[in-house]
């Protein structure tokens, strides 16, 4: 246990983190390509079409993973932000900032695919369904976080201030979700709930899980890559940055 603690601490040192992330990224990138390849093939070709929704249901293979990822990344971002704020760990601050764009992107994709799935299913692109509405508010939370980070010039202050915002946001996410859900059930007339097949065929479930895994691995790779860039930007005057620049030409 203590040994692992020391290990963890070692990797929070900027240079070590930079090197470790650099070594990990290619693996995750390769894994991403493999998983997306298998998942797309299974989802688009192998899996049979749904007897009710026809082929339009295939959007589920990207709608569900992106929606999960969007929500999960927000929580993860808030956790890193809290660690960075409370224990003043630079790497955690950088991770929080690096997660935000990817999280926002996945949240947007969940909305986009949700709308495109809604059209054939409900007949309209957008319904004020509880899930879509809370995803929309989540996207706004991401945008607010990024806007606040960008608006403050001093880097330390930007990290701290947006960490407070992320923590306030993460406390609010369940409250928002609950109230939106409640609002939605009260106005039942206007909305149609998503029709989920009661028993999902095994192949569909497996495909879905592969796609979920693929978005996971993609997120890890991209976030680590962005964290490296952020780290370089923050530490550009440090000696370890100069040393590494000598080493890698492009």
């Amino acid at each position: 246990m203590s040994e692992r603690g020391i290990q963890w601490f070692r990797f929070t040192a900027p240079a070590n983190f930079y090197d470790l992330a650099g070594r990990l990224i290619p693996w995750f990138a390769a894994l991403t390509i493999a998983l997306f390849g298998v998942g797309l093939y299974m989802g688009l070709v192998v899996a049979p079409s749904d007897y009710q929704q026809g082929d339009s249901y295939r959007i589920i293979y990207i709608h569900v993973p992106t929606a999960w990822m969007g929500m999960f990344l927000y929580v993860l971002m808030a956790i890193y932000a809290a660690i960075g704020l409370i224990w003043r760990i630079k790497i955690a601050e950088i991770m929080a900032k690096s997660i935000a764009p990817t999280g926002a992107l996945f949240t947007f994709l969940a909305l986009w695919t949700g709308a495109l799935w809604g059209r054939p299913t409900w007949g309209v692109f957008w319904v004020w369904d509880a899930r879509l509405t809370s995803m929309l508010l989540l996207l706004f939370l991401y945008l607010g976080y990024m806007a606040l980070h960008a608006a403050i010039d001093d880097r330390q202050r930007a990290s701290n201030a947006s960490a407070v915002l992320a923590m306030v946001g993460v406390v609010n996410v369940p409250i928002i979700y609950f109230s939106v859900h409640w609002w939605n059930t009260l106005h039942q007339g206007a909305s149609i709930t998503v029709t989920e097949a009661p028993t999902m065929a095994m192949i569909m479930f497996v495909t879905l899980m592969i796609m979920v895994l693929a978005t996971w691995v993609y997120s890890i790779a991209v976030v680590l890559a962005r964290a490296r860039v952020e780290l370089l930007e923050r530490e550009r005057t440090a000696r370890w940055v100069q040393e590494r620049l000598e080493g890698e030409r492009r």
Binding site: D154, R155, R236, T237
Partner: protein, 207 residues
Amino acid sequence: MADREFRAVALAAERGDRRLFDDIDFTLSPGQLLQVSGRNGCGKTSLLRILSGLSRPVAGQVYWGDEPIQSVDGGTGSCLGYLGHQNALKEDLTAEENILIAGGLGGGRPDREDVLAMLASLGLAGYEDLPVRYLSQGQKRRVALARLLLQPRPLLILDEPYAALDVQVIEVLRSAIEAHLARKGMIVITTHQAVDIDGDCHNLRLG
């Protein structure tokens, strides 16, 4: 007045990418004054804000006795008074109201007579019931000083207190500082002018 030492241990501060200062150490005992000097932009104000607990240093810690300055028993403000570049006066309130309210906020029950006497000693007799917006820059500074001197704190941290003051007021302030030191108070001060103060004075050069 003060019964403990005020210590800075290995303080460092940054602005953007630039290190302002490194490894600042000092110990101030009751009755001592520390003058911080250095050219413009060398981090005097940053140091003073760190000493008063308003900013967090990149490294190091400030202690009031054995307690870190942020977690002093009874709040940071119970041990020190800080006068920054801004006068911290409400333009719509009169000089007297400003001081009385600040005193009330500080937990004291300021006496109106004391306030008027202090304002008079700083040459502001007759201005006490005017909204502060009608006062000149120098007069506002004097009101801010009056507020500070009326709050009995063992440690005073003064950032350019002489700015915009004329000669007589500088004299009044000087004697107030000397009296504070004689009462075993402590002072940390930055100033451009050389003002000779009778007492146990020390110097810290930045940059």
